[in-house]
């Protein structure tokens, strides 16, 4: 599929190189509205650079300002005074959305109910005044690309959620936008469909090479789709980096916790290459004096108690299918989370031995 797309696109697209996208000092303060009277800072002034052809994912909990950032890029929202939005070498801050050449895909599809599939996809082309022949050809290409063949004449209310989102995607891509913007496009779909569409979107984004910003609060989606991820917290960017960097070297406790689960190991003391922690001691070659170390549940291994660095008592087990999650009481404030193979049987109350490889331990700059 991916290779097809590349060929189709290249054959009749004037070779417009992807552009970069830059936000400079873009903040957003909402005045008091119907509910509350106090002004509300939804976004603290931030700088953001998206490379040409890159997919940047904005990831964060509800209300952290992801949508606001996306809307500022699209032109649906204006940044506070002083903010600037650059598409390539063009300052588009003052341009209304209809002049910015962006494609948008929304969580609730926002398909036009008064038009069928074809007419929805053709909408932007008709607005741009393309000839009927060109429109027909381009709509045909789009229908192929998102696998909607045979549904061209369907009214949109007769489509499933996944099909609707494909139409929305085709509609946004049909006009060959400079920047593609997604606001939680898969959030309304069920898990299975979400996975399928996520793969499709990923392939499309890679093959089309359009500069894209993708908003989600689903970390798996972020990891799979993002060339880079910006983790947002309370209207600011907490960390920006590749999925690997973010996962393995989280810059703050918030990021570590938001992306997957993380264990917190308090260091009670150090002696000759060993760190005392609740339930045992860890052997490390290098120690920088951090008072807290972290590790991921999947980096903790279960081993015979005699060879264990840490021992504890199993509190609870959760069977996940491909693995199981153990909660182990080591005497620390919070139990350790351990990911273990799903075929092993553990009973609550059992004593268990754990070991952690040194390279799996990391410290976090802002940790208290």
């Amino acid at each position: 599929m991916a290779t097809n797309i590349v060929r189709n696109e290249n054959s009749n697209r004037p070779a417009t190189a992807p552009i970069s996208l830059r936000l400079r000092h873009c903040g957003r303060t909402f005045p008091g509205t119907r509910g509350s009277h106090a002004p509300h800072v939804a976004l603290q002034p931030l700088d953001l650079d998206v490379e040409p052809g890159e997919t940047l994912v904005l990831l964060g909990p509800s209300g952290c300002g992801k949508t606001t950032t996306l809307r500022i890029i699209s032109g649906l929202e204006q940044p506070d005074i002083g903010g600037q939005v650059w598409f390539g070498e063009e300052d588009v801050t003052q341009l209304p959305i209809e002049k910015r050449d962006v494609g948008m895909v929304f969580q609730n599809y926002a398909l036009f109910p008064n038009m069928n599939v074809e007419a929805n996809i053709a909408y932007g082309l008709r607005i741009r005044g393309l000839s009927p022949d060109d429109i027909r050809r381009r709509v045909g290409e789009m229908v192929d690309m998102v696998h909607l063949n045979g549904l061209e004449r369907r009214p949109v209310h007769e489509l499933s959620g996944g099909q609707k989102q494909r139409v929305a995607l085709a509609r946004a891509l049909a006009v060959r936008p400079r920047v593609l913007l997604f606001d939680e496009p898969l959030a309304a779909l069920d898990a299975k469909l979400r996975d399928r569409l996520r793969v499709d979107i990923g392939q499309l984004l890679r093959s089309l090479g359009i500069t894209s910003v993708y908003v989600t609060h689903d970390q798996a989606e972020a990891m799979a789709l993002g060339d880079r991820i910006a983790v947002m917290e309370n209207g600011r960017i907490a960390q920006l980096g590749t999925p690997r960097e973010i996962y393995h070297h989280p810059g703050s406790a918030f990021v570590a916790d938001f992306i997957g689960s993380v264990n917190r190991l308090e260091i009670k003391g150090a002696e000759e290459g060993q760190l005392m922690v609740a339930g045992g001691r860890l052997s490390v070659a290098r120690y920088h004096g951090a008072s807290v170390l972290y590790c991921r549940p999947e980096d903790i291994e279960v081993c015979p108690v005699t060879q264990a660095a840490i021992t504890g008592r199993v509190l609870q087990t959760f069977f996940l299918g491909q693995s199981q999650r153990l909660f182990v009481d080591t005497g620390a404030e919070t139990p350790l989370q351990v990911e273990s193979p799903s075929r092993e049987q553990w009973l609550p109350g059992q004593t268990i031995g754990l070991s952690i490889a040194e390279e799996a331990l990391f410290s976090i700059a802002d940790a208290q």
């Binding site: 509205t33 119907r34 699209s74 649906l76 209304p96 959305i97 209809e98 002049k99 050449d101 962006v102 494609g103 948008m104 929304f106 609730n108 926002a110 398909l111 036009f112 109910p113 008064n114 909408y123 932007g124 607005i127 741009r128 009214p155 949109v156 209310h157 929305a168 509609r171 946004a172 006009v175 913007l181």
Partner: protein
Amino acid sequence: MTTASVRRNGRRGMFYWQLAFTLLICLFMIVPVVMSVTAGLTENYFVGLSSGLTTRWLVEVWNLYAQSIWLSIYLALSCLGVTLVLGIPAAYGLLKSQKRWASLVEELLLMPVAVPGLATALALLLAYGGFRGFRSSWLFILVGHVLFTLPFMIRPVLAVMQSINVVKLEEAASSLGARPVQRFLSVVLPNCTSGILAGALMVLTLSVGEFNITWMLHTPLTKTLPVGLADSYASMRLEVGSAYTLIFLMMILPFLIVVQWLGQVMTRKASARVS
């Protein structure tokens, strides 16, 4: 008899009771209309049907009140035009406004319905009664009708706009390059037709039947159907008044049925779309 069949019989008995009750209520409401209609068709109401049937009263009413009838139609259509032109943009504006006063305006929209028509009319007379030309023209009544019916246009249109999330649709259209006017015409209007139709139905019927405001505002030359009706009841033979009712019904019923049917078709379409 088994308990099941007892229960079934009991249920059937209940059904007949309900049917009888419903029919009785219907009869109670229909009889006056039928009597009124037959009165308009009998030679002499006090003698009864034996005096013979006639269309004489109908002709007389038409000769006397044709002008009112035309005025009513004209007025209702003008009122519809004005409420469309004012109401749809108003609903759209209310929808888009995030300001605190928007919700206040929404509440205020109910006001003309709660204030007695006579009070509205009096206020209009006090404010604009001095402008002779305006005061004696049908436009004066039109203003009253628009004041009274505007909320009935705005409310259903606003409700539809909210239910189909017009704001999101417009955002999608604008991202595809549509300018404000383009997206209003191609996306907002076509998706609000069910609300517009429902509003139009209300406005037309309310305007044709409106009495309170019109009665206060009318002049001998600007008499509408309902005012003429009151007039004929007060000053003419009973048969004339009844014939008048008949004409009124003949005019308004087919029209109502058509609009109602249209409205149903549209809502069915719209609800199919939403689900």
